[in-house]
């Protein structure tokens, strides 16, 4: 998969991250090339969500050492909106409710802000509406939902589908999906996974963070990593996920404990 002489899309080097003065990531290394889908699995508390947040630039997630290079450029000093404009997208584990902001307004503001930052013209209203309707239709998102305030009164599954809708509209280059399967029943999981699979492309990379192997039956990864105690403890192919499902994380918790 890896092409020589090409800068990887994402390179995380020796990343140390503190949250509330506690070190959560302790020297994490990760390389993701374009076109690849990487799964990051691991026990609770291993630092999976921290990795997702620090990539998106959440305040309070303090990188004390190391780099996150996107196309060779360190994004750690960038504001979240700059990272988004460069193509980073985080699908939240717990999408937030924004009372008073209509979903349509939100989508449009986000899309146009990114286009503006990239020097592209704003989408016309008919173009925008057409794109949103088509994409929403594929994700079985009701038109009525789009008129409501962002995520307010949405079920867990609707919120997750709304995340994928945003991802599909914004067309990011690097998608980070944080526990996108949590709280989904099997039908919703399939809709979400289909939505994600439609976005797989040779120009796009994805990092799928999950505790369970279940999602990976639907979004089949190229590479699987096990994150434990703030570091990548093991890397393998998609069969690693099945192995974890069978054996659990006990082995890695011990391994990581020994390493630290």
């Amino acid at each position: 998969m890896r092409r020589k002489h090409e800068v990887p899309m994402l390179e995380v080097k020796n990343l140390h991250v503190n949250v509330d003065d506690r070190e959560i990531l302790k020297g994490l290394d990760l390389t993701v090339n374009k076109g690849e889908v990487h799964a990051i699995m691991g026990p609770n508390g291993s630092g999976k969500s921290t990795l997702a947040y620090v990539m998106a630039g959440k305040p309070g997630y303090q990188a004390t050492e190391g780099e996150i290079l996107l196309d060779g450029e360190n994004v750690l000093a960038m504001e979240p909106d700059e990272r988004a404009a460069k193509g980073v997208f985080l699908a939240f584990q717990y999408p937030l409710e924004i009372p008073g902001v209509a979903t349509m307004t939100f989508l449009r503001t986000a899309l146009n802000a990114q286009r503006k930052k990239r020097g592209q013209a704003e989408l016309s209203t008919p173009e925008f509406l057409k794109t949103v309707r088509e994409t929403a239709g594929m994700l079985e998102i009701d038109q009525e939902m789009l008129r409501r305030a962002v995520n307010v009164g949405f079920s867990g599954g609707e919120k997750k589908r709304n995340e994928i809708l945003q991802m599909a509209l914004l067309q990011p280059r690097l998608c980070v999906l944080d526990e996108t399967d949590s709280g989904l029943d099997i039908d919703a999981l399939k809709i979400v996974a289909d939505g994600v699979n439609r976005l797989r492309s040779p120009e796009r990379a994805m990092i799928v963070i999950t505790h369970y192997q279940r999602l990976l039956n639907h979004i089949v990864p190229d590479v699987v990593h096990v994150l434990s105690r703030g570091r990548i403890a093991k890397t393998g192919g998609k069969e690693l996920a099945l192995e974890l499902e069978a054996k659990g994380y006990a082995e890695f918790q011990d391994e990581a404990a020994l390493a630290s």
Binding site: E79, P80, F92, I98, G100, F106, T109
Partner: protein, 443 residues
């Protein structure tokens, strides 16, 4: 020594007393009206300007804030009238009947009094006072008693002009009435306007008041309102102006049975603004919404004080006020709900929310409940806080820059209050004002 100092009048009080004496011969009305003025003036002389030791004015020490009193505005000249042509545009392009007051005086040539719909009467208060209009004998100074209310007494003593509006029994006004108050005089002046609005049984109307003023003006405006049984009345007051404007406003409303009453106060300017509303529910089965939104920056001080008195039972009142505070501004909300002994089945709720955009801004909330009936539902809530950082991050993670993300969240915050306005055009116009305010802030 101390006692002597306390009994002394401030410069502003002294100037106002002198102004009354010299203006008295030229103020409109005789007989009953002038007796009302005299009594009010004596009350003002006894009380003076309200100050922080008066509980209702605890957070707005007008005596200290009003360093001087400006001379009473004269008759507006052509230049002042010309400047007033663009006043009141904050309401957007809604089709309303504009009635214009410049420097506190009615200006017929800027007003639209043509083709009044059946049942609608509009008259200048000065004219009504001079002519001894029977509506004044019935209602002026009587709608809600306001003893110990210094600024209202001052208004009654010095009231010059305003609107007398009557909507007859059963009449429905299709077009809203827009009272445009513009103090555009070249020199700082004091302006005293007084209006009386009578919405008779079963009538339906909407009234918008917009107030704007030039630099360093002092405006004292009052509106007495009578809403009859089964009537439906919407009132929206918009206050703007420069940062050295002192604007004091009193609404006294008596609401009949099975009526619908919606009040909205929108504050987007001024230096010191006091908006006081005294609303009394006299008949059963009325639904009322008393709402407002304020956007403050710099050193602005906006005080909203609402007294909702349930005299009759079975009424529902909802109060909802939102304030956005930037810079070193201060927002005050005082809300009192009174439920009289026989007003059973009263359902009264009061909610106030303050959003602080700066470390230096301050919000003060003082809710009070005085309940003398036992079968009622009353409640109040207050929140004060900064913008939700997690929501801001969510928006920014989608590529929305920080100022725009903040603007979206502020719009959402204010929008919740503005949604209470029934008139869509006006809702949109006010939201546009919010957006413009945020743009000026850098959003």
């Amino acid at each position: 020594m101390n006692a002597e100092v306390r009994s002394m009048k401030t410069n502003a009080e002294q100037a106002l007393a002198e102004a009354f004496v010299s203006a008295k011969p030229t103020l409109p009305g005789d007989g009953q009206v002038s007796a009302l003025r005299e009594a009010a003036f004596r009350s003002f002389e006894a009380e003076g300007l309200p100050h922080r030791r008066i509980e209702e004015w605890k957070y707005t020490d007008l005596r200290a804030l009003m360093r001087d009193a400006k001379p009473i505005a004269g008759t507006p000249d052509a230049a002042a009238k010309s400047r007033a042509k663009s006043a009141g545009l904050l309401v957007g392009d809604i089709d309303a009947r504009r009635i214009v007051f410049v420097d506190g005086m009615f200006v017929p040539e800027l007003s639209d009094l043509a083709n009044l719909s059946p049942g609608l009467t509009i008259r200048s208060m000065a004219e009504a006072m001079a002519a001894g209009d029977p509506q004044l004998a019935a209602h002026l100074g009587k709608v809600v008693s306001s003893e110990r209310e210094g600024v209202l007494a001052l208004n009654t003593a010095l009231m010059r002009d305003g609107a007398l509006v009557r909507v007859a029994k059963g009449a429905t006004l299709e077009r809203p009435i827009h009272l445009v108050f513009a103090a555009t005089g070249a020199r700082p002046a004091s302006v005293f306007t007084r209006s009386l609005v009578v919405i008779e049984e079963g009538a339906r109307a909407m009234l918008v008041e917009s107030h704007d003023a030039a630099a360093a003006h002092q405006v004292n405006t009052a509106l007495e309102l009578v809403v009859g049984d089964g009537a439906h009345f919407d009132h929206i007051k918009i206050t703007s102006g420069p940062s050295d404007l002192i604007h004091v406003s009193s609404l006294m409303a008596a609401i009949g049975a099975r009526a619908r009453f919606n009040d909205f106060a929108f504050n987007i300017g001024g230096g010191v603004v006091r908006n006081q509303l005294f609303v009394r529910f006299d008949g059963e089965g009325t639904l009322a919404g008393i709402r407002g939104a304020s956007l403050l920056k710099g050193k602005q001080h906006v005080d909203t004080t609402v007294v909702a008195e349930h005299k009759a039972g079975g009424c529902q009142s909802r109060e909802m006020f939102a304030a956005v505070l930037d810079g070193e501004s201060r927002g005050v909300f005082q809300g009192k709900i009174i439920v009289q002994p026989h007003a059973q089945q009263t359902d009264a709720k009061m909610m106030t929310r303050a959003l602080l955009l700066s470390e230096e801004a301050e919000a003060d909330n003082k809710p009070e409940l005085e309940i003398f009936a036992d079968d009622v539902q009353c409640g109040h809530g207050a929140t004060t806080g900064a913008l939700d950082q997690d929501l801001k991050f969510y928006l920014m993670a989608r590529g929305i820059p920080e100022p725009e993300a903040e603007a979206l969240l502020v719009q959402a915050f204010v929008g919740e209050a503005i949604e209470g306005i029934e008139h869509a055009g006006l809702r949109d116009a006010l939201m546009e004002q919010v957006v413009a305010w945020l743009k000026a802030r850098g959003g």
